[in-house]
């Protein structure tokens, strides 16, 4: 599902980079990549800067914490994190099923500097998890661009239309062009 809006502020992102418009992927609209935050060298003599560095370090850690909205793969995710609901980054929680339709984002992996195509599959069935709601609208477009629309239940095509949570699976690397 992709429908949380304004619950969480978008932070630490650099400008959108788009995939070549000529590729099929371009139909999905503008994709975003995550942020590379440059850590300052710790100036131990300045408390203020040390605090700023701590904050940056904390932000950096979250990019590798798959229960945080700032996790690198979640750059275009809008929903509840399955990692907070009994699932993992690519596994649905017990008793649910993987959504049959999905939408795709492009996220930058700060660890290897590469961009990955991420499939945001909803896990469907049962109740809504309602934990760790994250929201990013970059690249989102109204329903006339359904593949990048996030105000809709992506469990709509499953036998149970209940939305539980969203995983973020790597499905390939992205060919990147400057946007």
């Amino acid at each position: 599902m992709q429908w949380f809006d304004n619950f969480f502020e978008t932070r630490s992102r650099r400008a959108a980079q788009s995939i070549s418009r000529r590729s099929a992927v371009a139909r999905l609209g503008k994709m975003l990549v995550g942020t590379a935050i440059l850590l300052p060298v710790l100036p131990f003599d300045r408390v203020g800067r040390a605090i700023a560095a701590e904050k940056a370090a904390k932000a950096k850690d979250k990019r590798n914490d798959d229960t945080a909205c700032e996790y690198w793969r979640y750059c275009a995710l809008d929903g509840f994190l399955c990692t907070c609901c009994g699932g993992t980054i690519s596994s649905c929680p017990p008793g649910t099923e993987v959504s049959k339709v999905t939408w795709v984002g492009t996220c930058h992996n700060p660890n290897d500097g590469k961009d990955y195509l991420i499939s945001y599959n909803d896990c469907c069935g049962g109740v809504t998890c309602n934990r760790c709601g994250c929201n990013f609208n970059e690249g989102e477009r109204p329903g006339y661009r359904m593949g990048v629309h996030n105000d809709i239940n992506w469990c709509m095509a499953n036998s149970s239309n209940s939305y539980h949570c969203t995983v973020a699976a790597v499905v390939g690397t992205a060919e990147k062009t400057k946007g």
Binding site: W3, T10, K30, N137, P142, I152, M156, S160
Partner: protein, 383 residues
Amino acid sequence: MLAGKIRKIFAGAIIVAASCHVQGEVPIDKLTVLNLPPASPYRLYLSDMVISHFVDSKLMIIDGESLNVIGHVALGMTGHATLTPDRSEILVSTAYMTKLNRGERIGQMDVWDATTLKLKAEINVPPKHSQSFPYRGKIRTSADGRMVFMQNSTPASSVTVVDRVAGKFVTEIATPGCWMIYVPQSVSDRFSTMCGDGTMLTVKLDAEGKALERKKSAKFFDADDDALFTSGAQADDNYTFVSFKGNVQTVNVAGDAAVAEAPWPLATAADVKAGWRPGGYQPVALHEKSGRIFVAMHAKGKEGSHKNPAKEIWAFDLAGKKRIDRAPGHHATVIAASRGDAPKVFAYSTDKSTLSVFNATGKLKHLKTAGPFAEFATQLDVQ
């Protein structure tokens, strides 16, 4: 049912709880069920998807002057509501699963009496309605109220046509790559829908409600560079939309193909530099009589900020294409305006669940803010 005594049936026993004579000052009450009072021009209809329990979505009816809640309508699973042209009925496009979140999915249009709030009719339709945020344009009637159009998504886009007079499903019309329903007021035999290729598609219907002719407008927007919000403000046959980057686009949907006017910018060069952009779920409202639109605007806008709450509400003279007023935004994501004389502007905040009211006879004047209303509302209609 209750006149001096109460019958309480439990544990197999009937207990007469009270059969005393009244000796006090307070008379014995007769329990009744109310109807809605006659509507003022400020009656509000707020659609709440209830994200965490969207099987149980709802419509709240609020008196826009007192901000008292005066009634509710159950919307079922991610239901969408619209009023009939005469305001006598509330029509709901929805679905029910026979066992809450499993079993058979029953698609239907529920018809609610707008005075008693009782269910008048249930019309079976294909179980395909769009399970999405309530927005104006997910369900609309033709100008004469006879035909009802409902947005589907499987995720393939289509429109279900229901004949309200005959009380039955008519047809499903494929609308690939297009979204939301726009109906003219001067004719009742067509609807338009906004398409991802930057056009509008107009579908003309025959007397039964079946698709007769389909015509695309010229391309008038670019969904990549500057997408249009689909929630538009209507005046007769014209819809006025705003774009993510802050342009105004008026489109006439009365003809066989929609015709768009030239776009014009909401923001000056300096405003653009400060990142002022429209935002929210229902970012623009229109007061026809005074020819003004009201837009929810946020600063520091950028790609992805298009649902940010308003920092200010800006008023524009639509004919003059000129800003004439700005007021605090009250975190609004949904803007609506009343009709006729003595207009009020309503600004709902999805984040804060608050509703703010402005007197809009002249300059916008904030009257009050109250809440909480709803869990996650995205659509606000005025009587």
